[in-house]
């Protein structure tokens, strides 16, 4: 009895916490303009309730409870689709993460978005996004997960293009949406293949591991299909180009969606379907992840826009997670998802704080400059000390310095990758963890560079705007509503929240529970090596950044710089490969249309007209002639019979008399 009650309670709480953001979305979407200022606080209250419920659900679920609840939805043929809720340790942890970061971001946004003319609409979209993310996390079958997946894509589109007056934002949102659609197509195909193979979409059944596999080829294809969804959503090579563009959205959105949650959905999906992925698929995943991690890190090296740099860094870190999944370090990948969510959200929110502060200056000076250009910043450690400290902590965590959470998780992934390469045998497989190590070094370099550019040295903006130096206007640190979320997130970037041992998380509470025993379970022989190497790499990277940044005498390879700034020329390649080809194809088809099809249609219509004329002649002369003749005949007969009815009474009398006479003569004779 007690047990039943708990199940009911937990599942209902989970449903409720997912429903609240949707409810808030509905309110704000339809009557938001009337609420204006209060809409932000309404959203924050809703998010707080969601978060509290998530924590309750988490404590009932962690470490190894599984709750399911399903409602009959519809039946197609013999298969019944259900609305199924699946709550296990993975989804419970994700619930807490999503609701927590969503709450912090919404608190932050009340200040950041203040004065925006579509203030309530912004919070409505955030609500929609949170709801769809919960939908992904809680869904117990692939169909429902796919619906949430699409909803996340939609809300991401709405939020990237939130400042739709800016052409850049409008284009970026379209770009993101279209590229996500490409991945979604693969995802959908994967789902269909899975259904064709196993005749079920239920995640619990699919991942139980005792389904008969009769065709491993199709299983591989299905796995690749599912991974396609992850490639687009989690910005993996070759579809990572949408994420830097997505920075056109408001910065809190970048923190929530494009750093902490939505892009993590791809990794979450991989975790959900992990038992379905066979060795071939996992290898593809590992290679893709490693390439992405490396490419992202290189692209981040020379960026000048504070948010774009973080976007490339996100791509790189997502590459780590995907690589972790691919090498079978399932738990480590998820661990990195969580630590990354905290420090990257913190970095984005701090970057937002810097941008916000500079925007204020821009407004007060009635001038215009790029508030996101790091070349104009510098020395902000003095004017924005709180933001600086938080940025430093989360930045070092991203760089993978020991004592910070990023170190723990990155370390776990690299260890997993090394042991995986060892089991593969061939030394070529070591390229994967090597790429990971190189990326770790690059990460430290770009983090150090960014820290120095933004916070170190002298404030460079007065060089551009001399009036700033003479005026009373100064850069001020952001208000409390923005500091609070940054502070909390920065604290959570320190190691002891995840593991008491600062160099090894393997026995920390999180990793021990979330890991699953797989064939390639990470053995710890590599661990010491990884700890030392990655720690050294992080320190070297930071030192390198310190030496190189601002020192113009050290030459920078122009090739590498261009490669980095243009994100490996991927967009140009796609433009030539797909856009140009598409345009060429459409031109050719257009030509065929004009030359061939139009001529055929022209002749066809001409012959139709000629035919019609012939028919018209026949109609006029033959058919109409017959009808007219019949009418004429009837008219003549009518006139003939009518002629006796002259209307003259006397003539009638005469006829009568005449008739009488005939009668008389006939009788007499």
């Amino acid at each position: 009895m007690q047990e039943d009650f708990i199940i009911e309670f937990v599942t209902w709480s989970a449903t409720l916490l997912a429903a609240i953001p949707f409810f808030i979305f509905c309110i704000l979407f339809f009557v938001g303009t009337k609420l204006s200022k209060t809409s932000g606080w309404l959203a924050v209250i809703g998010a707080s309730i969601s978060f509290l419920l998530a924590v309750i659900v988490f404590f009932y679920t962690w470490p190894d409870k599984v709750y399911t609840q399903s409602i009959h939805w519809f039946t197609v043929g013999e298969y019944t689709f259900t609305l199924k809720l699946l709550l296990d340790k993975l989804s419970a942890a994700m619930l807490v993460l999503v609701s927590f970061i969503s709450l912090l971001v919404q608190i932050y946004s009340t200040e950041y978005m203040k004065g925006d003319k579509r203030y309530s609409r912004y919070f409505a979209y955030l609500g929609l996004f949170t709801f769809s993310m919960f939908c992904i996390v809680l869904s117990g079958n692939l169909l429902l997960l796919y619906i949430g997946w699409e909803l996340v894509g939609l809300s991401s589109y709405l939020l990237i293009g939130f400042w739709r007056e800016k052409t850049e934002a409008a284009l970026a949102s379209r770009n993101a949406f279209i590229i996500n659609r490409i991945g979604d197509t693969g995802f959908l195909l994967g789902i269909i293949l899975v259904f064709a193979q196993f005749n079920t979409l239920d995640l619990a059944t699919l991942t139980s591991g005792n389904l008969p596999v009769d065709n491993s080829f199709w299983l591989t294809v299905a796995g690749i299909g599912l991974f396609c969804g992850c490639i687009a959503k989690s910005a993996q090579f070759p579809l990572q180009i949408w994420l830097p563009g997505a920075m056109a959205g408001p910065t809190p959105v970048s923190a929530l969606i494009h750093a902490a949650t939505m892009v993590a959905a791809g990794v979450f999906l991989l975790a959900r379907v992990f038992p379905l992925l066979n060795t071939d698929v996992l290898t593809v995943i590992a290679i893709t992840g490693a390439i992405t991690a490396f490419m992202g890190a290189v692209a981040a090296l020379f960026q000048t826009d504070i948010k774009r740099l973080l976007a490339f860094s996100t791509i790189s870190q997502l590459g780590y997670m995907v690589m972790g999944m691919g090498v079978g370090a399932y738990g480590s990948a998820l661990f990195h998802l969580f630590t990354h969510a905290f420090f990257k959200a913190c970095l984005f929110l701090s970057a937002g704080a810097v941008i916000h502060a500079l925007h204020k200056v821009e407004h007060q000076l009635h001038t215009h400059f790029d508030a996101q250009d790091m070349r104009l910043m510098g020395g902000l450690r003095k004017t924005m000390p709180f933001t600086f400290i938080c940025y430093l902590v989360s930045g070092l965590s991203l760089a993978g310095l020991p004592l910070f959470s990023g170190f723990l998780s990155k370390d776990a992934i690299l260890t997993g990758a090394l042991s995986w390469a060892e089991t593969k045998g061939n030394f070529l497989w070591y390229l994967i963890p090597d790429l990971g190590f190189i990326s770790a070094l690059l990460t430290a370099i770009y983090v150090g560079r960014q820290l120095i550019l933004v916070f170190g040295g002298e404030f460079r903006l007065p060089h551009l705007l001399p009036q700033l130096a003479t005026s009373q206007i100064a850069v001020k640190d952001v208000p409390f509503a923005m500091q609070l979320p940054i502070g909390i997130l920065a604290i959570l970037s320190v190691f002891f929240f995840f593991s008491l041992n600062p160099v090894d998380a393997a026995y920390g509470w999180f990793l021990t529970t979330i890991s699953v025993k797989t064939a390639q379970a990470a053995d710890h022989s590599w661990h010491t090596f990884t700890v030392i190497t990655s720690g050294l790499l992080a320190i070297t990277g930071l030192a390198l950044a310190y030496v190189v940044t601002g020192n113009t005498r050290i030459p920078r390879p122009a090739f590498l710089k261009n490669l980095s700034l243009h994100n490996w020329y991927l967009e140009d390649i796609y433009r030539i490969l797909f856009v140009r080809t598409g345009q060429l194809f459409s031109k050719v088809t257009n030509g065929i249309d004009k030359k061939l099809l139009d001529t055929i249609i022209d002749y066809a219509s001409i012959s139709m007209v000629v035919l019609a004329h012939i028919f018209a002649w026949i109609d006029r002369n033959l058919v109409d002639g017959l009808v007219n003749f019949a009418a004429y005949l009837a008219g003549r007969i009518g006139a003939l019979t009518r002629s006796v009815q002259g209307g003259r009474v006397q003539s009638y009398f005469l006829y009568t008399l005449f008739g009488l006479l005939i009668l008389v003569v006939w009788i007499i004779l």
Binding site: R642, G646, R648, V649, F653, L654, L657
Partner: protein, 102 residues
């Protein structure tokens, strides 16, 4: 004395005159007069033939009836003619051609 033929000739003459009047005259009242002539032609025949009747008076009685009916008929017909005149402002029969299809 007058033989039966004389009466019959007079009756036939009257009948013919009546018919001609009905056919040729355009005035409705004159046509009514023609009708009266025809009726009286019949009356003369009735009276003339009643002489050879066993009961003698049958033909004469019938002639009286005809006179009464003719009077009633004349009254009704003249009333109609009056109404026609009021409606059409004419009693010219050629103009009363409402029955004709226009």
């Amino acid at each position: 004395m007058f033989s039966l033929e004389h009466f019959l000739v007079v009756g036939a003459a009257l009948f013919c005159i009546g018919v001609v009047i009905i056919i040729t005259k355009r005035n409705a009242i004159v046509v009514l007069m023609g009708i009266e002539l025809i009726l009286n032609a019949a009356n003369i025949n009735l009276v003339a033939f009643s002489r050879y009747d066993a009961n003698v008076l049958q033909g004469q009685m019938f002639a009286l009836f005809v006179i009464v009916v003719a009077a009633a008929e004349a009254a009704v017909a003249l009333a109609i003619v009056l109404r026609v005149y009021q409606y059409y402002q004419t009693v010219h029969l050629d103009k009363l051609d409402e029955l004709k299809e226009k």
